[in-house]
Subunit: 164 residues, 2 copies
C-alpha cells in the first residue's frame, strides 16, 4: 500500500532532506555494488549483497565486524515502486518464506519502508521507517542506536552518490 | 513473483481440479461474507473475516470451536493477481507489521499461496501451497492434518459456490 502513517509506539522514523536525486537514492538501495559501499555504518561494513528487486525477491546482505566476523542478514522484498518506495522485511526470506530474523548481533523483527520523494531543487525527501511487532522491540531497536546507525549509513549514501 | 516451485522438505501442497469457475473461487477467497461460509472445516466455523485485498492489507479471521471458544487469526496479504493468485502470510499483520503467528490452537508460521488456473471445461485447477520456515514446522503442519483440513474446507467452498 502506497501510504502509511507511522505508529509512534511501535515504529521508528528517520526523515531527512538530502542533496541526492531520487533516482540515485534508488540506485544506491537496489544495486548491490552500490549498496555494499554505504549500507553499514563504519567501522562495520557490508561485504556482500544479493538482491532480487521485486515482491517476493530476496534481500540478503552480509555485514562484517572490524574483527572480521561475518553476520548474514536475510530478508524479503515486499513492495517496489521504482524510484519512490521500497519495502522489505526481516521475518520472511525469498518467496515470502517465514524465517527467524537474522540481522547480525541482534535479531530484530522489523519491516523497513524507504520512501523517496523528489524535492523542488532536485534533491530527495528521504523517509526510513522501521515497523516493529510491539513497543518493546521498538524501544530495543531505538536503544541499539537506530537513529545514529541508519543516520550514519545515510551519510555514507550521500557521500557516495554525491561524488559520482 | 508469479511462479513458484514448491520445496518438498518445507512446503505442503494441496492440488485439485474443481468444477467451480476461477472467478467464483476468487470471490470465495476474497469476499468476507462468502469466506466465513467455507473457510474452516466443520464442526469448527469461521465467525468473522476482515480482509483488505491488496499488498499490505489485513487478512483477519476468527475461528470458533464447537464449544464456542474463539481463535482470532491475523495475517497480511502479500500478492494479489485477481482471479489468479493470492499470497498471504501469518507472520505479518496489516502494513506488513511483523506479528507473532496466531492461528487458533497452534500458532504456525507459514505463507499461503493460492493459485487458480482455468481449465478447458470452465472449472479451476486449484493449488494451495503452505510455505514453512523449516522441515520441522512443515511436518508439524502435516501431522496436524493439513491435507484433510484444507481439503475439507475446499469441499465446503465447492459446495457453496456450485450451489450459487
Amino acid at each position: 500500500m502506497s501510504t502509511y502513517t507511522p505508529d509512534p509506539e511501535r515504529d521508528l522514523v528517520l526523515e531527512r532532506t538530502i542533496a541526492v536525486a531520487p533516482e540515485r537514492v534508488w540506485a544506491a538501495w537496489t544495486e548491490p555494488e552500490l549498496l555494499v559501499q554505504w549500507f553499514t555504518p563504519a567501522p562495520f561494513k557490508t561485504v556482500a549483497a544479493d538482491l532480487d528487486v521485486r515482491p517476493g525477491g530476496r534481500f540478503s546482505t552480509t555485514m562484517e565486524s572490524p574483527e572480521g566476523e561475518q553476520y548474514p542478514n536475510t530478508g524479503c522484498i515486499l513492495e517496489v515502486d521504482p524510484g519512490r518506495l521500497l519495502v522489505w522485511t526481516s521475518v520472511l526470506g525469498e518467496h515470502y518464506r517465514p524465517t527467524p530474523p537474522s540481522n547480525g548481533a541482534d535479531d530484530l523483527a522489523f519491516t523497513g519502508r524507504i520512501s523517496i520523494e523528489p524535492t523542488a531543487d532536485g534533491g530527495t525527501r528521504y523517509t526510513a521507517i522501521a515497523i516493529h511487532p510491539d513497543p518493546l522491540t521498538c524501544r530495543r531497536h531505538d536503544e541499539m542506536g537506530f537513529s545514529e546507525g541508519w543516520g550514519a549509513a545515510l551519510d555514507q549514501l550521500v557521500a557516495l552518490m554525491s561524488a559520482g
